[in-house]
């Protein structure tokens, strides 16, 4: 690991100033950053340690009913916050299906949003990767790409965003509060992450010095609580990134869908909101045929970026399943195996 300057600001303003210097990176838990630094994937000159800043570790309900979560709230704290989990059960389920208890105890909300792709070629410093080095090329194309993107990818990058947490968050119109050199601003989560297009080196729209200080879940989101689920297909029963995942949330009235939210994980370089599916679902009777139509609509633009055509079919199927699970109701408690196909009590037939 390259030597770096370690600075510890005492206010957000100081932190932003420090991190505005070129070559700086924010250090929260470091769960992803240190991993990347050890692998030689990133090599910042300066770490701006924000873990000691006060006021960023709160979960609060604002006057307008939206829920604001400080960027330094730990993943586990949020998932186990009883009030939060009862209002946003799919978010809690997603959090608990990610990584391990140890990592969830350390990793922060802000850090989760900003975690980098798990593409093996991004991590392998000897491979060509446009995300790591602009213009270097993409060795994932034509390489080992069974788990790569099927939506929103470009010839320059076929990586995926690895977060579970972000998938239900994007479905619920989460807003990201950012503080930067020019002051505070809000960014809808759906607009935080960049698709690769021609500039895959850019993960997010954040500018130098920008710091995520909180996220907000709008008040309207908790109306989905009785019918919202997160489901994640992976290659181990636990402790594996999603092959494909889905968040599905419904507002139902006597079997009729008033409003639907659907998002996919593991399919693109950002958490993928499936608005076409949502539109198709709204106003209709919740049944299997409708769910299939919605799933088809969600994947209409999907195409394989390598040996991963199966992910398109898998994504359709997981949407259908997640919708049917959501329709049958949120369980009282997150299952022993969160978001798993093997969580008992899950009915598999719609």
């Amino acid at each position: 690991m390259k030597s770096f300057e370690y600075v510890r600001p005492t206010t957000v303003r100081e932190a932003v100033a420090a991190a505005s210097e070129p070559g700086s990176a924010y250090l929260a838990a470091g769960s992803n950053l240190l991993d990347l630094m050890k692998g030689g994937v990133v090599a910042p000159d300066r770490l701006v340690d924000i873990t000691h800043l006060t006021g960023l570790d709160r979960i609060e309900t604002l006057a307008n009913g939206s829920v604001r979560i400080g960027a330094l709230v730990r993943n586990a704290e949020l998932a186990h916050d009883a009030h939060f989990a009862s209002h946003f059960p799919a978010v809690a389920e997603a959090l608990l299906s990610g990584a391990t208890a140890q990592l969830r105890n350390a990793a922060t909300v802000g850090g989760n949003l900003l975690q980098r792709t798990r593409c093996g070629y991004f991590y392998d410093a000897a491979s060509a990767c446009n995300k790591r080095v602009a213009g270097a090329g993409c060795d994932a194309r034509g390489g080992d790409n069974r788990l790569h993107a099927v939506l929103g990818w470009s010839e320059n990058c076929i990586a995926t965003h690895p977060s579970d947490f972000c998938v239900p968050l994007v479905a619920f119109d989460t807003v990201v509060e950012v503080e930067g050199r020019a002051g505070k601003r809000d960014i809808p989560l759906d607009q935080l992450h960049c698709l690769p297009a021609d500039a895959p080196e850019r993960d997010t729209v954040l500018e130098r010095g920008d710091m995520i200080v909180a996220i907000r879940l709008p008040a309207a989101a908790d109306r989905f609580a009785p019918h919202s689920r997160y489901l994640k297909v992976r290659e181990r029963t636990s402790y594996a990134f999603a092959v494909v995942s889905a968040a599905a949330a419904l507002r139902l009235d006597a079997g009729r869908i008033l409003e639907a939210r659907v998002a996919l994980g593991g399919v693109a370089l950002k958490p993928w909101r499936a608005r076409e599916a949502e539109l198709l679902l709204a106003g209709n009777q919740a049944d299997a045929a409708l769910f299939h139509r919605a799933a088809t609509a969600a994947l209409v633009d999907a195409k394989p970026s390598g040996d991963n055509g199966f992910k398109i079919e898998l994504a359709r199927r997981i949407i259908v399943r997640a919708l049917s699970l959501a329709a049958s109701g949120t369980p009282a408690r997150v299952a022993a195996l969160p978001a798993s196909a093997f969580a008992s009590g899950v009915t598999h037939h719609v």
């Binding site: 300057e5 370690y6 470091g30 769960s31 240190l34 208890a101 350390a106 029963t237 022993a336 008992s344």
Partner: protein
Amino acid sequence: MSLTKTLVINGLKRTIVLDDPRVTLLDLLRERLDLPGTKKGCDRGQCGACTVLVNGRRINSCLTLAASLDNAEILTIEGVAQGEQLHPVQDAFIACDGLQCGYCTPGQIMSAIGLIQEAQAGDDAERVREGMSGNLCRCGAYQGITQAVLDAQKVMRASKQQEVV
């Protein structure tokens, strides 16, 4: 550049002068504080062998920058037993043979103690398995590990009730 920090490690307050900000908590313990009980299996947060408790929470010490810690209370495997008296989790690991080569064992035990404190799993073996899935064991001692966590939890609960009575 050197940083001076105070950490409470296994109940002992220690002042640490850190001459290199790159040092992780794991390497601090193993290479600089003569506490090699905590193991390095991957150094990337992927195996759990380095699990310790920081302020009561289990974390991967390999992904924790020592420089970032201040006045933190750290519990490592060396601080779990009270003298000759093993912790119930340690006893249970031996009784259930929840170990073979023993290399992942310190991390498993710290993780188990963390899991029990989190109080999310209860007596549900499936929740224990899920909760212990951040600790790889290549020897495959998982059956014994799960049983040890369940057994130790019962013992700890019983002794707590006794104290209350």
